[in-house]
Symmetry: C2
Subunit: 584 residues, 2 copies
């Protein structure tokens, strides 16, 4: 038998017991005639003692153990003289009588500690060693717990987990599909799903009513810090529901998770329309952990001779509460921040509400003290506040001010990882204009239903049509999104038309779905959570990489196993393929 | 609101309630001034009534509803005059006051009934309609329940579900890998996993200790009735264990599933060595729902002048209890059965133990009544039995007699789908000789450990080396299999050598795993269940196809969505690929 107990469970209650433990040598130190070894497993760390007076040979063997050796020891639980209150086993130690080396270990290329000396690249190459570190392991334990709780909740609500296929068909948004050549069908390819969207809708047509799946999805796109070519969705769909039913159900799931995994009562999740979110935060995923809502100032800034404000479609600002003490250097840094190419603003106007009651702005040339008092009133300002104002085309300046708001919030410590502020953003636009292709695209996806009262606008003002679409945002991160779907064949055809599909294209790609709609499709809708992001939010992390056991790097490579890799010519031949690599 | 209740829950306890139901029109019939409609959802069927006397217009609208229309009705729960005791809602009906058609439906191409008139092809093309049928839906509900119970059990045993990557690296058995070209890495490919084997072993090296995953795996091979290109495994691995620990743990899981899903106490699972299974059943996955074990007869049949038996390496038979009454025609049919090309026997000898105490065989020319009495004693025979005997090279004749045994068991009704007979088959050979390639292959996989006491045989008698490998068999179907793995780099290198890998090949393919073994790998082992097969056994089905929501056909095609399919030339170009289809 390899162990009677784990390395995390023995306490004073076990004194005198003869036990066997197995695990890894965390560290070793000599003190007089004794050697102390910390042995580690998934459950914790236990101290072992070897005493020359008791057994000289055994102690000599213990002294030769290197870090990360795998050992098995048998001994007696005794009370520790020097206790460690930080760990559950800190009051006991094992007086070892027998030691077996299960496997030796080379010195690892970085320390297996909470704070390691290993850089990102080396940790990814030796990910199996990185996974030994407590914070990384805790992330994956958290992920497991969350998946269990999600299933428990959805099962209790009569959802059925149904596995949908991974080898499917390429879609028109296919440029981002991974494809898989079929040996049995030369010249043909499967695609890996970007989501199980059409299958879950077909399950609704089948009467499955309440479906979910925690499922891998795939997207072949250039990767950013928070994207992976394979990612995991909590994919859900319900029939015979309206938007309200869906919001309530998944608000329930979210609250359940916070309650059962983090012990946090999330309260009721507030709702905000897309239009309002853009107006108040310049973002469809506002970080509502802090206020600092946008205040629009066109009315009270115009016609005072400041050409920038007078010419601007939108003059809008935020009140950085208590920041009047910002130095000139700090203010310049904020101006530089908004002028960075990726933000692209031309400037930043500020006004300080000094402690003495005066207001001093960077545009005093144009605005009188009374004007500035009016600004302050609009900002609900008080002594000590700092107003930061930008101007420009509406959509652009809102995006820019959103960045500034987040930066100031960060500087002020308002984006606390231990605080969770959820928000439903609803009434998304159905379509968005794409400058590159000069046509409208579905903002969510082509299966999202327009609000019935807006359908008439499809021809006259497509950009104004609102969808039955919603996102769940937590701390400024989009955690999930979904919509009420179209379940009527005619409406779906109309949508495809407005998205620029010819009837033939629509038929070729989605004929099976549109045909399904003619055999009795119920009203339905759903939502998908980004599971990786949800776990990373729970873990207080900024990226999803550390909640994934074996992530890929920004080039889509798994550097540990060295994938992707070349394949043998004979294998390509069997797949009826040839390489066609073009010089750059 | 679309419904207050489901179509499966209203009973006499609800009399007088005003309710709203939504669902599909199952059937409709007129009787006098009334129309009766059965409305169906996932939960059941409820009868609706429309009465001309109450509302002529409403009834007229009801008469126009076609099969599979999606409707929403509001009405009152009343007692039924003609009750149906077969369904839970059979004592009530809904007197409808309001009817809304949520969606019309074309007549489906086959009937949505337990026994449908649709053939396999049409049902697969319209799988979303096939899924409406109760037996198919029940299979998927069963699958969901089993997945939930598996997770509940493993979670309670401290297993962590860890997602391993789907985009991995092609392996030497790569001929059966699906590959995925990488746009970002021209000329390179990912492979889809045939199993997460190396990743779960790395998780053990990481200290994850108890891992599981219900996970899709992929194999690009010619498909048989019970194979799919994508299939689902319950993949498990444990560290610091021996074979005994693993058998106990997963016997526990299996018993838990039978108990909680089927209400069956499976009892202790018997164990049998591979050698014994081959000797007694001629199969490494014997169907132990019935006895009819092999009896070897060389000693008592030889030197009596029958050249076929005298020349045979093995003379072996089964006792078909109570089958002495088989007619000549039935016996000829059994002989024809074993002579079929896929079985390939040259003949079948039989002996009848007649009710009058005489024994009559097809080889009476060579064997005296006393000889036949000796046979009968070996078979533990009695009046009424039929002995069926075959002869030939040991391995071949065992396989042939296995087929005959299964056939006779089938004919005798001994293979009852409602009876479950599990068996651990242990001590599998490590290697098996492959005639085609003229070398040894790993019988399980290259990571399986030999029994320590047999390692010395690796050079002298590789075929004799037993592995720490085991299969779980239920009713003659291999449900799961696994092994204790190698965790020592040197032994792993030795294995690769014996499997014909050069050191360079081993390093290229599995360098990362062998390197991992040098950083402190614990003893570990595991098991994977075929989840599709396990569900099909629970469902009493012969194939896995009906426990998969959207299966592929024998050519690997999804005929519903028409995948695989061609992709645009531009997309191939982006992937640095060209088609290279050769004429057959």
């Amino acid at each position: 038998m390899h162990r009677t107990h784990t390395c995390g469970e023995l306490t004073l209650a076990d004194l005198g017991k003869s036990v066997t433990l197995s695990g890894w040598v965390q560290k070793s130190r000599d003190l007089g005639g004794m050697t102390f070894i910390d042995v580690r497993d998934r459950y914790g760390i236990t101290q072992l003692t070897f005493n020359t007076d008791d057994d000289e040979t055994l102690r000599a063997r213990a002294r030769e153990l290197g870090r990360e050796y795998v050992i098995k020891v048998t001994g007696t639980v005794i009370e520790r003289s020097s206790k460690n209150s930080k760990i559950p086993t800190g009051e006991i130690e094992i007086k070892v009588a027998d030691l077996e080396i299960l496997n030796a270990a080379k010195l690892p290329p970085f320390t297996i500690e909470d704070e390691t000396d290993g850089g990102d690249d080396i940790r990814m190459k030796f990910r199996y060693l990185d996974l030994r570190r407590n914070p990384v392991r805790q992330n994956l334990i958290l992920r497991h717990k969350m998946a269990q709780e999600i299933r428990r909740y959805l099962d209790s609500e009569d959802f059925l987990e149904v596995e949908t296929p991974v080898l499917i068909k390429s879609t028109p948004e296919g440029a981002r599909d991974f494809v898989v050549p079929s040996r049995m069908n030369p010249g043909e390819f499967y695609a890996l799903p970007q989501s199980p969207q059409t299958f879950k809708q077909l399950l609704m047509v089948s009467g499955f009513d309440r479906y979910f799946q925690i499922v891998k999805c795939f997207r072949d796109e250039d990767l950013r810090a928070d994207r992976q070519p394979e990612f995991t969705q909590i994919d859900c769909e319900m029939a015979f529901v309206e938007q309200e039913d869906i919001l309530n159900m998944f608000e329930g799931l979210t609250k359940h998770l916070f309650q059962h995994v983090k012990g946090i009562d999330l309260g009721t999740v507030p709702r905000m329309t897309y239009a309002e979110a853009m107006r108040l935060y310049g973002s469809d995923k506002p970080d509502t952990r802090f206020g600092m809502q946008f205040v629009e100032l066109n009315d009270i800034t115009k016609d005072k001779g400041f050409p920038v404000f007078d010419a601007a479609e939108l003059v809008v600002g935020i009140n950085a509460k208590g920041c009047a003490h910002y130095t000139r250097k700090q203010l310049d840094a904020l101006t530089d921040f908004v002028k960075r190419p990726q933000i692209g603003a031309t400037g930043l106007v500020y006004a300080r509400y000094n402690e003495d009651g005066t207001i001093k702005s960077s545009v005093d040339k144009f605005y009188s003290p009374e004007d500035l008092q009016a600004w302050s009133a609009a900002f609900d300002g008080e002594a000590g506040d700092l107003f930061l104002i930008m101007a420009g085309p509406k959509d652009k300046v809102r995006k820019q001010l959103n960045e500034l708001r987040l930066e100031v919030g960060q500087q002020l410590g308002l984006r606390d990882k231990n605080k969770f502020s959820p928000l439903w953003v609803i009434d998304f636009p159905l379509l968005e204009w794409d400058e590159d292709t000069e046509r409208y695209h579905a903002m969510h996806h082509p299966f999202t239903s327009p609000k019935p009262e807006d359908i008439a606008l499809l021809d006259s003002a497509p950009g104004e049509v609102r969808a039955n679409a919603y996102d769940l945002v937590i701390n400024g991160v989009e955690i999930g999104g979904g919509s009420i779907r179209i379940h009527d064949r005619e409406l779906q055809s109309l949508m495809f038309k407005h998205l620029g599909f010819t009837p033939e294209e629509a038929q070729k790609q989605f004929g099976f779905l549109m045909e399904a709609f003619t055999y009795g499709a119920p009203p339905h809708g759903g939502l998908a959570f980004g599971f990786d992001r949800l776990v990373s939010i729970f873990a207080g992390l900024d990226t999803i990489r550390d909640v994934i056991a074996f992530p890929k790097n920004n080039s889509g490579r798994d550097v540990m196993i060295d994938a992707p890799a070349t394949v043998a010519p004979a294998q390509l031949d069997e797949l009826s393929l040839a390489l066609n690599i073009k010089a750059k």
